[in-house]
């Protein structure tokens, strides 16, 4: 019985934990080895492990976390920044996008703008304006020719390569062609600005034309712009301008290398029939033509 700790392989373990039975304990304490075990146990209990600096270790681990963590975070941040920039540019571009109306050769179009103003767009012309928030800044860009009927309101503006026209409830025609520029006011008042110090105010029946790089202001007496009646009318206009105008309505190209295009033409042509229109222009000028495809070669 004294040899319990030898035969029972958990005996000493249980003694340490204090879970021996009363009987086992008393018997064990009587053995001569007990004091040896007691001494070993008591001295062992006085032992200390190494000193551990938890705070220093935490600091060290945090540093490692910092070293490893920020990179992906920064990259993700840059992705976010890049994505936001692209999104904003995209949104800006979208909000800033333009709406454009085009007419081909011989085509005409009636455009109604957001404020109720209308534009009769003549052949081979282009009108564009901002798609959004246009009524905050009513500005349209014109190339070609258009007849504007503007409802009363603030700051309607037509921009052309030659300058811009500002209006306040009026009707007017703008023609901006090769070698030919004309602003004609049919109602109300418009202001044509070529540059800051070159401003013309036009009232009903007044027009500005560009000739030899200078602007000429004059009166006219037509009730209505002729092209709106589907014809073009000229009075002492050089032939090359007439032919250029002709090309806006019919899909033809004139070869004028054999004739003098500086001579003036007076008369009109219709926009509805090519053969008749050709005769009405060429006969009075005593010109003949040879047709090859869409090219008309003119000769005396």
């Amino acid at each position: 019985m004294n040899e319990n700790y030898n035969s029972d392989d958990t005996f000493l373990g249980r003694w340490i934990a204090g879970t021996l039975t009363e009987e086992e304990r008393i018997a064990f304490e009587k053995t001569k080895e007990f004091k040896q075990f007691q001494l070993i146990n008591r001295e062992a209990e006085l032992l200390e492990g190494p000193a551990i600096d938890t705070n220093a270790a935490l600091e060290k681990v945090k540093q490692q976390i910092e070293q490893e963590k920020p990179k992906p975070k920064v990259i993700r941040m840059w992705y976010a920044v890049a994505a936001t920039v692209i999104l904003l540019i995209g949104l800006g571009t979208f909000l800033n996008s333009s709406k454009t109306y085009r007419t081909g050769i011989g085509e005409k179009m009636l455009v109604t703008l957001n404020d109720g103003s209308t534009v009769n767009l003549n052949a081979n012309s282009r009108l564009s304006h901002k798609r959004f928030f246009w009524t905050d800044n009513k500005e349209v860009e014109l190339t070609g020719e258009g007849y504007f009927t503007v409802v009363k309101g603030e700051g309607f503006k037509v921009t052309t390569a030659q300058g811009h026209i500002e209006v306040l409830g009026t009707q007017f025609n703008v023609q901006e062609r090769k070698d030919q520029f004309k602003v004609a006011c049919y109602e109300g008042k418009v202001q044509f600005t070529r540059s800051i110090d070159d401003v013309e105010v036009l009232t009903k029946g007044q027009q500005v034309t560009l000739s030899n790089n200078s602007f000429l202001k004059e009166n006219f007496n037509e009730e209505k712009e002729q092209w709106l009646l589907n014809k073009s009318t000229f009075e002492n206009v050089p032939l090359h301008i007439v032919l250029n105008e002709f090309e806006q309505y019919y899909p033809v190209t004139f070869d004028t290398s054999k004739i003098n295009t500086k001579i003036n033409f007076t008369g009109s042509f219709s926009h509805s029939d090519l053969e008749i229109a050709l005769q009405t222009v060429l006969l009075p000028m005593k010109l003949k033509f040879v047709k090859k495809g869409n090219t008309l070669t003119l000769s005396e």
Partner: protein
């Protein structure tokens, strides 16, 4: 309560785990390998990993994760060294007076005890030191090592038997 397990990803919770377990785990690994630097490296790398995995480990499972991960890391690094122990200074004298019968100097005995502890197998040394030095209960040791309480009782018994057979000659009472 378990539904609202605090997140380890929150720094204060992580710090709490660190303060609660770092020292104990490090000593546990140290008693196995006898290399304090190695033990600290192992524990720190496990805590670093704990932070990275903070989303996937429940707060209540953190302790068991830490011990298991440290143990696994330790098993990968085999070299075992002697454990350096020292006696608590303050208690020395009171203990002496109760047992005036020592035939050997207390200091000498203590050196021999430390040497004997280091001669124990790693399995016994680890359990013996966790119990006697770190004052863990068998239940706690079972949790740490993944052994049963019975197995720990056996290892403790064996450790004591071996210590007595190594030191018995020097103790004459």
């Amino acid at each position: 309560m378990q539904e609202k397990d605090p997140s380890i990803c929150e720094e204060k919770n992580y710090n709490q785990l660190f303060h609660k377990h770092y020292e104990a785990v490090t000593k546990y690994i140290y008693y196995k390998c006898g290399d304090l630097q190695q033990a600290e490296d192992i524990t720190q790398s496990v805590f670093l990993k704990l932070w990275k995995l903070c989303n996937t480990i429940a707060f209540s499972k953190a302790k068991s994760y830490i011990y298991k991960a440290c143990n696994n890391l330790f098993l990968n690094e085999v070299a075992h060294k002697k454990v350096v122990l020292k006696h608590q200074k303050s208690i020395v004298n009171t203990a002496d007076k109760e047992s005036p019968d020592f035939l050997i100097e207390v200091e000498e005995f203590r050196e021999k005890l430390k040497a004997a502890i280091n001669k124990l197998s790693v399995k016994e040394r680890e359990v013996f030191l966790l119990s006697r030095v770190e004052k863990h209960t068998y239940k706690e040791i079972a949790e740490i090592t993944g052994l049963t309480v019975k197995a720990i009782e056996r290892r403790m018994s064996k450790a004591l038997q071996e210590l007595k057979s190594m030191l018995g000659k020097d103790i004459k009472i």
